[in-house]
């Protein structure tokens, strides 16, 4: 007879271990028996059905993640703007309509295989990012001249655009008077993670006006949005910066042209740990504040800065607590991708209510894990540190690596940025710390200012008790390519297992995800002589997935 399309004979039914079936149903299958790779439909990345994680975790996923987030997306859209602007924005911008509605699949990919506390804590991080993304695009749409018949409304007049690598912390003194929204964070950066199809249009557009293919594709995409006239016109001015690299500086040239409105450059010094550079950097930050005062007529509000900086410190302090648990125990409940994306997002964005709310939820889970000694990633064979900048189109590779090989990415380079508390006792201290905060920005703190920064890897490996390095090899990053051989030499000299993972940041066409998996799998079989935990994940086709 046939059952669910499969031929089943009486003997099979007789031989079935029903107790095991019931246990699998109730608790979910053991890691080695999950066969997650069998769930995919062709090369789409879609699921024949979503994973059955046992009754408790499946229902948690359904109620507390899937339903909760879909529901909150609607309430967030209403809370941060209105449905009309949302629909207009969806119909107008490719990065919106093509990308963000697929957001639950972003959850699925990042949270695949997770159970219990790890599932809950990681999902809260995703929730925070989704909510803040909605807040930002709703603000953009509400102020957007393009969606309002070219009208410069009050929100437009009270918004400032900034390069996504300029930290939102800079704008704390003005947040009671206006709002700062990163120009590329939502139209570009977050889209790559959620649905990597969209960004390819922008990369191609950037090259269509004559840019060669070799510059960093992140920078290409950042101005490709302008070439395609796909940026929301939501602010009268912009602040840009030189973070993190030559490409970022150069991108400003083209963005300035297309925006064609007052632009303040707020560069950070390259040799940033030279004590002599701090004053110069501080003055550039003050220059940015003066620019805002001149352009908008608003006044620097020290009390507001203090209030928000202190709140922001709370987020940083909790981050330190998380690092401590991650470094010294097996009870850390946040997986590699959730940790990395959340950290880079909130520390770049600066304090917002949602980050505080999410940290509150995660703290409870973290305390429970530590208190009850819950091993959140019990199949860990290797504790890995991921170094250099990650492939945006496959930031969830670490979820796969754990499910397939037991490689647990405990920490990554970008999470270690912005390692700075902000003093608020005096203006001078505040400015000094803010200067440092900006100098320790993502992709930058380690990548510039001397080779000793990038070689901090060895200290962090020790601090986080890692036995393996996933060495991201961003093919278009000149800074990292320029020091490739020294890393090879050091890995050999220190006898470190390092897997080089080539990628092209947002552009999946250069190094497909399957190739990244193959490189890791090849290393695990040929060098480490290990067997996969889930053999169905070793080789599968997701070339057309989001």
């Amino acid at each position: 007879m046939k059952l669910f399309g499969k031929e089943v004979n009486k003997d099979t039914l007789k031989d079935t271990d029903w107790k095991k079936v019931a246990s699998d149903f109730w608790y979910g299958k053991p890691h080695e028996e999950r066969r997650l790779g069998d769930l995919y439909i062709g090369n789409t990345g879609l699921y024949k059905h979503r994973e059955w994680r046992g009754v408790k975790d499946t229902m948690y996923y359904f109620n507390n993640i899937w339903l909760y987030n879909y529901g909150h997306m609607i309430t967030d859209i209403m809370k941060y703007g209105n449905m009309v602007d949302f629909i207009k924005g969806t119909m107008r911008y490719r990065w919106m309509g093509q990308t963000y509605l697929t957001v639950m699949h972003w959850f699925d990919r990042g949270l695949e295989g997770l159970r219990g506390e790890a599932l809950a804590a990681s999902a809260w991080h995703y929730r925070g990012m989704v909510s803040e993304t909605i807040r930002q695009f709703q603000r953009m749409f509400a102020a957007d001249k393009k969606l309002h018949g070219g009208k410069e409304n009050e929100l437009w007049k009270n918004s400032i655009a900034h390069n996504e690598t300029v930290s939102g912390v800079i704008f704390f003194p003005f947040r009671d008077q206006m709002d700062d929204v990163a120009l590329e964070m939502i139209p570009y950066f977050v889209t790559c993670h959620v649905n990597n199809h969209t960004v390819l249009n922008y990369i191609d557009a950037a090259q269509s006006i004559g840019l060669p293919a070799d510059p960093c594709p992140m920078c290409q995409a950042e101005y490709g949005i302008f070439v395609l006239d796909d940026y929301p016109d939501y602010a009268p001015t912009m602040i840009t910066s030189n973070e993190a690299c030559d490409g970022s500086v150069a991108t400003s040239v083209l963005q300035d042209w297309f925006l064609n409105r007052p632009l303040y450059a707020m560069p950070q010094p390259m040799r940033y740990d030279d004590p002599l550079v701090q004053k110069h950097c501080a003055e550039e930050i003050e220059g940015a504040w003066k620019f805002i005062e001149d352009q908008y007529g608003y006044k620097f509000n020290w009390e507001k800065y203090k209030e928000l900086a202190e709140k922001h410190n709370k987020l940083t302090e909790f981050e330190y607590e998380k690092w401590d648990v991650a470094a010294n125990t097996p009870y850390y409940p946040i997986n590699g991708v959730a940790q990395a994306l959340y950290r880079i997002y909130y520390s770049q964005d600066g304090w917002r209510p949602i980050w505080e709310e999410v940290d509150g939820h995660v703290k409870k889970i973290l305390d429970r894990c530590v208190g009850k000694k819950i091993e959140t990633f019990p199949k860990t064979r290797h504790r890995a540190i991921a170094w250099s900048c990650a492939p945006l189109y496959y930031s969830n590779w670490c979820t796969w690596a754990y499910n397939c090989w037991g490689i647990n990415t405990v920490i990554n380079m970008d999470s270690l940025m912005f390692d700075q508390l902000l003093r608020t006792d005096t203006y001078e201290h505040a400015l000094e710390d803010l200067t440092w905060y900006n100098e320790k920005a993502p992709m930058r703190a380690m990548a510039v200012g001397g080779h000793e920064h990038i070689f901090q890897l060895w200290q962090y490996m020790e601090r986080f008790n890692c036995d393996m390095v996933i060495m991201y090899d961003q093919l278009a990053c000149k800074g990292m390519q320029g020091i490739h051989g020294m890393f090879e030499d050091e890995f050999r000299a220190r006898d470190i297992h390092a897997i080089w993972v080539p990628h092209a940041l947002p552009d999946k066409r250069v190094v497909p995800r399957a190739e990244i998996r193959k490189i890791i799998s090849d290393y695990m079989t040929t060098v480490m002589h290990e067997e996969p935990l889930d053999p169905t994940l070793v080789d599968f086709d997701d070339s057309e997935s989001w």
């Binding site: 006006i209 060669p212 510059p215 030559d246 150069a250 083209l254 560069p267 800074g479």
Partner: protein, 398 residues
């Protein structure tokens, strides 16, 4: 045209970094200080007791060892410099005065720090932070950096006199070099120039890589000789062009352009004389070091500068050069993998024809040029397109 005085010797001096004049200066007991970028003020490296050598890697082929260290996806200039260093070609250097002004040359210089490449016990490599803006804050910062990372280090390591008097003397010598090179360069503005772009680049390059006190007398003689030089009765060129773009220390690249029929009348690129040979002007009451810092930032046309008005002025400057030197078009070259110039080239290629009416030939090149055939085709097509436009503009008359 007849050969210019010393030109063959200049060509010879450019065949290796440790050339005859560098060796002579070292024998005199002077310290050789390497650098790669305009942002390391040349004048400061020519204080009494030392001399500057802007690094090149002439006659490079395939930088295999450097490619292991820096991969094949970085600018070949940086790799060729590292290869030359690994081969021992820079062992004559007593110090590398480094700047983190573009990523790959920065990494090259970091390798000098990390790998103990330079076999000279006195050698050290010191970085200076260079700002991205031209405002007062940046000038003050840069002055402080130059004091701490150049002057103090030279004094500390080699006992170099870094007093204001010594700096003034160095500025004087520097300006004399600039004056002579600029005077030579002025001949490119003639309707029928009496110097080719190739010849001028040889002159400009030797002025960068040789000890100033040894090359200056030769340059002066060349200038005198040039004053008496007559142009060809029938010029070999068909159009005049400005060469702009990223690092270019290869005179044979200029020769290639000129062989195709375009005379290179202006050089607005790294290692070029515009604005590289602008003299340092000391304002009244200004300290010489401040003048150098200000000069370096204010005159530079590097795409690294981020201020909005400065970004836009760069295009205007380039158009002005093309006009002043009576150029028919502009060739924008970009070293492959140079991020700054890949973007700058993109915008220049659109804005200069659109807003200033200059035709642009936009090309990507390598430090070691093997794709000569392709480049030749591009240049020939560009020259023909300018000629056609001239014919059309002149109502059918060439």
């Amino acid at each position: 045209m007849r050969d210019l005085l010393h030109l063959i010797e200049y060509e010879d001096l450019l065949q290796e970094a440790n050339n005859k004049l560098v060796r002579q200066a070292k024998d005199e007991g002077l310290r050789a200080l390497g650098y790669t970028c305009y942002f390391m003020p040349e004048a400061l490296l020519n204080l009494p007791g030392c001399f500057s050598v802007r690094l090149r890697a002439p006659r490079s082929t395939s930088p295999d060892m450097a490619t292991y260290y820096m991969s094949n996806r970085t600018c070949m200039f940086g790799r060729c410099l590292l290869e030359r260093a690994l081969e021992g070609g820079f062992n004559f250097l007593d110090a590398q005065m480094a700047t983190e002004t573009c990523t790959v040359t920065c990494r090259f210089q970091e390798h000098l720090q990390m790998m103990d490449v330079i076999k000279n016990p006195d050698f050290f490599c010191e970085f200076t932070d260079v700002p991205f803006k031209k405002n007062e804050n940046s000038i003050a910062h840069f002055e402080q950096q130059l004091q701490a990372h150049v002057l103090d280090k030279l004094s500390e390591h080699f006992g170099i006199d870094t007093s204001d008097e010594a700096i003034l003397k160095a500025i004087e010598q520097h300006n004399e070099v600039c004056r002579v090179v600029n005077e030579i360069g002025e001949f490119r503005k003639l309707d029928v120039p009496t110097i080719t772009g190739f010849e001028f680049q040889l002159i400009q390059l030797v002025s960068l890589v040789c000890p100033k006190h040894l090359i200056l007398p030769m340059l002066k003689e060349t200038l005198e000789d040039l004053k008496k030089r007559e142009p060809d009765v029938k010029p070999t060129w068909r159009v005049k062009v400005v060469l702009a773009g990223s690092e270019n220390d290869d005179p044979y690249f200029v020769k290639l352009i000129e062989e195709c029929g375009a005379l290179v009348v202006a050089d607005r690129h790294c290692y070029g004389s515009l604005p590289g040979r602008d003299p340092i002007v000391i304002e009244e009451g200004e300290k010489p070091l401040h003048a150098i810092a200000r000069h370096c930032l204010q005159t530079s046309m590097c795409p690294r500068f981020m201020e909005q008005h400065v970004m836009r002025e760069r295009k205007e400057y380039l158009a002005k050069i093309a006009k002043d030197y009576k150029a028919d078009g502009i060739i924008i070259e970009q070293m492959k993998f140079c991020e700054y110039w890949s973007y700058e080239r993109t915008i220049d290629t659109i804005i200069l024809p659109r807003d200033y009416g200059f035709p642009v030939c936009s090309i990507e090149k390598e430090y070691v040029n093997n794709a000569v055939g392709q480049l030749r085709t591009r240049f020939q097509a560009f020259i023909e397109s300018i000629e056609i436009k001239k014919i059309q503009a002149g109502g059918g008359q060439a």
